[in-house]
């Protein structure tokens, strides 16, 4: 394979991933508005395009044509870089997710670890955003985000390990293959719950949306960001929601396994179902307070995750060996 070939493949893969990231985020924002509208007895966007489908395109285009304001007292370079860093993991994550047997940009042999590691880059972007803004709301939002994300990281990792233990591999396609007969949500229900809760917290969604808690911190860490910079945070957030749903699908819901329908359809169906549940939660629950959030993690989730891993190790050895 020549260098040119590789380059072409990379460019193609990159284009495909970026297009997917953008379209998916726009679709998810539209979906979110429609879901919220249905939950709230409203119509949601209807005027722009059929069913308001083009509403989010209008929003995106508008944000592109919006003035960029860099406030006087910010840390200029960090401020400029923050949204880009926050957006960085989105395509990297999408690229590593197989959507069916052999379909996907790449299927890394350390896929599970890769996903968890890369998704934390966004946190760096958030911290940079909060700190560089020189705005107290942003600072508080960023501090909350960091504390919350690193805390929930640990039980999340332990929950994933329980799954890895069953599958015996970190490769995502292997994990899906191991669930051909029975999805892990049935074998590892506790791990599923822990992972689901943690990943909602990691993607800063209600009831864990403290970093951008609107009623307290106005807009949280992205308070000072205008136009496209703000849009990049949004893109990153919605991609993260998609990725979290995809991981739940891969690890616990049996991935693309399913009767009758095409594997890709199964995968997408399951993923968007999880996305819907996440949205449903958002439009139903109030928000926790920061200390309650932390206590919940350190006192409930983490011990539970440790016990879960311990018990599954013993049980697994007992049944297999």
């Amino acid at each position: 394979m020549s260098i040119f070939d590789i380059l072409l493949r990379i460019v193609l893969a990159f284009t495909a991933v970026i297009t997917f990231v953008t379209l998916n985020a726009l679709f998810l924002v539209w979906l979110e508005r429609k879901v919220s509208a249905v939950i709230q007895n409203r119509m949601g966007p209807t005027e722009v395009g059929p069913f308001g489908l083009l509403q989010t395109f209008a929003d995106a285009l508008k944000l592109l044509g919006k003035e960029m304001i860099t406030p006087k007292s910010v840390d200029q370079y960090v401020f400029l870089l923050a949204p880009i860093i926050a957006f960085l993991p989105a395509p990297l994550l999408i690229a590593a997710i197989p959507i069916a047997e052999g379909v996907g940009v790449s299927d890394l042999n350390v896929g599970a670890l890769y996903l968890l590691a890369i998704s934390n880059i966004a946190l760096l972007g958030i911290l940079m955003a909060g700190w560089s803004s020189n705005n107290k709301y942003s600072l508080l939002g960023a501090l909350r985000a960091v504390a919350q994300n690193i805390s929930y990281e640990i039980p999340m990792l332990l929950a994933v390990l329980a799954v890895v233990l069953m599958a015996g591999s970190l490769k995502l396609s292997e994990i899906v293959k191991a669930q051909e007969t029975i999805p892990y949500i049935l074998l590892q229900p506790v791990a599923f719950l822990i992972y689901f809760i943690c990943s909602i917290a990691e993607s800063n969604r209600t009831p864990f949306d403290l970093p951008e808690a609107e009623s307290e911190l106005v807009a949280g860490y992205h308070t000072e960001f205008t136009g496209m910079r703000f849009a990049l945070f949004f893109l990153a957030e919605y991609t993260q929601v998609f990725v979290l749903a995809a991981i739940v699908t891969l690890f616990f819901l049996g991935g693309w396994n399913g009767p009758l329908l095409h594997p890709i359809v199964w995968f997408m169906l399951k993923t968007y179902l999880v996305v819907f549940v996440v949205m449903w939660l958002r439009w139903t629950y109030p928000r926790l307070r920061s200390d309650q959030l932390m206590n919940f993690n350190w006192r409930v989730l983490l011990p539970l995750a440790i016990v879960n891993l311990l018990v599954s190790t013993v049980l697994f050895r007992g049944t297999v060996g």
């Binding site: 003035e67 501090l143 350190w298 013993v314």
Partner: protein
């Protein structure tokens, strides 16, 4: 193909940075600008700000980060052990993982007792 996998995250990252930079810089060309007097002021509910946001952060946060580091690194150590658990026909790794996790939980109990994990 292996080659492709190896350079993929890297090249993807470069591409994303370029794309992000493009998106962030394009509006400078196509958007109008305003020139209000308070345009560059830090926003704080419409009032002028008192003092900067760049204050000292309490050492407490630092300890918090340390605790996280400890837990995260320990967890990362379990990963290989867990992966090969399937192919080893022995209780040894189970005991090892078990001992490791128990030590981990002891440190959690200690941290909770010392009230290191109280968030303010």
């Amino acid at each position: 193909m292996e080659q492709l996998y190896n350079i993929l995250p890297f090249s993807m990252g470069i591409g994303t940075l370029a794309f992000g930079a493009f998106l962030v810089l394009l509006p400078y060309l196509i958007s109008p600008r305003s020139k209000g007097r308070f345009r560059g002021d830090t926003y704080e509910s419409g009032e002028p700000i008192i003092g900067e946001a760049w204050v000292q952060v309490r050492a407490h946060y630092y300890i918090y980060a340390l605790v996280f580091m400890a837990f995260d690194v320990e967890t990362a150590f379990i990963v290989p052990c867990v992966v090969i658990l399937r192919s080893w026909d022995s209780w040894l790794p189970v005991i090892e993982v078990g001992a490791f996790l128990i030590i981990l939980s002891l440190s959690l109990v200690y941290a909770l007792k010392k009230k290191v994990l109280e968030w303010e």
